[in-house]
């Protein structure tokens, strides 16, 4: 079961990390606070994707769309309606989950690569809408200067808001992945035919996972707007989806927190190597090649495997 690493040790480790992250903005320059907040947002997005890729075995190739839908919904609610701000916070993840349900409903009828291909196509459709519908979405200009509540006005304010929501979402994800649903989802990933024979409705479980994951992606979209105050069609573009997919593989897709590590590495590369050369993706590419050859289970997957107790007792997966 899930004793060992996931219990006291990792709770202690997480608490230390959280304490450090709470103190950091007081001592580091604002640029780094902003960078960390951005990494948190992308981490949440990658974590939501990994619920499907790592735990559900679903090739959700265009997961970024639901992030974009969350961000756009939030932006549109604030700029185009006079409803109270909290409705925007609620509507954004819900609309992401609704689009997730719609696209997922078609995709779960297909398996493996075909699932992924249909998912890319339908996701790109959403991107095209965001890109073309000038009167609503501002087309390729997007929407900028989105007003947010005053407590989010400073970078530090939004940093803490994003951090708190990230932690809450991670706790919720942890519970979901350790619930009977989580175990059953991993069973459908490992062996859909046998799951079906045991009486598990595989498609229904996959669709449920997609709705949950896209809901979290929608929250990540909201957090992006909180930090950046703008939206643009790139948030819906497949390139972002590819990036977060790589983060999952890089960090360790069969682990719980691996995608956070993947997101931190990729985003740091982009920001820090990106200031020296526009070819920072070259570095990422080399890391990926090494990963495929030497760490097929991702970085965190590798270390959990390496330091697991002897006698083959298992590493908690979720």
């Amino acid at each position: 079961m899930t004793k060992g690493i996931s219990s006291s040790k990792s709770i202690g480790f997480s608490a230390v990390c959280l304490a450090v992250l709470l103190v950091l903005p007081l001592v580091i320059p604002q640029f780094y606070t902003y960078t960390l907040a951005l990494i948190f947002v992308i981490s949440l997005l990658a974590m939501s994707l990994n619920m499907l890729v790592g735990h559900g075995g679903l090739y959700q190739f265009h997961h970024g769309v639901f992030y974009g839908v969350g961000a756009y919904t939030f932006a549109l609610f604030i700029t185009k309606t006079s409803l109270p701000v909290w409705t925007a916070f609620v509507a954004a993840p819900l609309s992401a989950a609704a689009i997730g349900l719609l696209i997922g409903w078609f995709c779960v009828r297909l398996t493996r690569l075909y699932f992924g291909m249909l998912q890319i196509s339908l996701g790109s459709l959403i991107w095209a809408i965001g890109f073309r519908w000038y009167s609503l979405t501002g087309g390729d200009d997007g929407i900028s200067g989105i007003p947010v509540p005053s407590f989010l006005a400073s970078v530090t304010g939004s940093y803490y808001f994003i951090l708190i929501l990230l932690v809450l979402c991670l706790i919720a994800m942890y519970f979901i992945l350790h619930s009977p649903f989580g175990v059953s989802l991993r069973a459908t990933r490992d062996n859909p035919e046998r799951s079906e024979a045991l009486g598990i409705n595989v498609r229904h479980h996959q669709l449920m996972a997609i709705v949950i994951a896209t809901f979290f992606a929608g929250i990540a979209g909201v957090l992006y707007v909180v930090l950046e105050r703008s939206v643009f069609p790139d948030l819906l573009f497949w390139y972002l989806s590819l990036e977060i997919f790589i983060m999952c593989l890089l960090g360790g897709w069969f682990t719980f927190a691996g995608p956070i590590l993947g997101a931190a590495i990729t985003e740091s590369l982009k920001i820090f190597v990106g200031t020296y050369t526009e070819y920072w993706t070259l570095v990422l590419g080399i890391i990926l090649i090494l990963l495929i050859f030497f760490l097929p289970e991702g970085i965190m997957g590798y270390f959990l495997e390496k330091f697991r107790p002897r006698d083959g007792a298992r590493v908690p997966e979720a």
């Binding site: 079961m1 350790h178 009977p180 649903f181 059953s184 069973a187 990933r189 009486g199 997966e317």
Partner: protein, 245 residues
């Protein structure tokens, strides 16, 4: 308990199962034997719903289950352990069995209760009864082949079946492992009161534990009788036992 009448299934014109029939009574251990290609596995897969029959009838506990989907048949109380080991290879041994129990108890959609609190006693009991309790925390895919075969049976038990169908439970096992499986089958029958239907190539095993044996030949059931009668039946000797000598 189970009555199969003139079951038929063809693949591209080849009659894999051609009029096979079988009666299994409560608490019996019934073996199906026959040469390779006689249609044993197809016959089982028709009963469990993994294949749809072209003709014939399958009655289980008085109800017609012909052509139902696998999970409906599973809910009615028939479980199957597969010849080719068919596990959840990244889950622990415990979770492999737990999933089956969760599914049986309709708990697979529970989101807000830790899995560590659900269906635990039932799962532990099954693991203990098959002798995998001490390996509960190992990953399914890391077990030895013999243990994986046993886990395969344990998953099938997770649905609390009335009838357990086993497709060659000892294929590929060493003599010691085979002996262990024989003991396990006997225990499942005597302690849990399970009705067991299995097919097997190992004649020694078949004659040592089966209450009744059904012989299949070219997709048809040519006889079903007690082991002694089978041994002395000329038709069987010609069709099967003779060939294996």
């Amino acid at each position: 308990m189970l009555r199969v009448e003139s079951l038929q299934k063809s693949f591209d014109g080849f009659m894999a199962v051609n009029g096979a029939g079988l009666v299994v009574e409560d608490h019996e251990i019934v073996a199906v034997i026959g040469p390779n290609g006689a249609g044993k596995t197809t016959f089982f897969r028709l009963i469990t719903g993994h294949l749809k029959p072209d003709g014939g009838k399958i009655i289980f506990n008085g109800r017609d289950i012909t052509g139902l989907s696998p999970h409906k048949i599973c809910k009615r109380g028939i479980s199957m352990s597969f010849q080719v080991v068919n596990l959840f290879h990244r889950l622990t041994v415990f979770e492999n069995v737990q999933v089956a129990v969760l599914s049986h108890q309709n708990k697979t959609r529970m989101l807000f209760s830790p899995a560590a609190n659900q269906s635990v006693p039932e799962t532990r009991e099954i693991l203990a009864s098959v002798g995998l309790a001490d390996k509960a925390d190992r990953i399914g895919g890391s077990l030895s082949y013999g243990d994986r075969k046993v886990l395969e049976i344990a998953i099938a038990l997770g649905n609390q079946p009335d009838l357990l169908i086993m497709d060659e439970p000892t294929s590929g096992l060493s003599p010691e492992e085979t002996a262990g499986t024989i003991k396990l089958i006997k225990r499942l029958s005597s302690e849990l009161g399970l009705t067991i239907l299995f097919c097997e190539h190992d004649m020694e095993l078949v004659f040592s534990i089966a209450h009744k044996i059904m012989v299949m030949h070219q997709g048809n059931s040519i006889i079903q009788a007690k082991p002694d009668e089978i041994r002395n039946n000329r038709q069987v000797q010609e069709a099967y036992l003779g060939i294996s000598d």
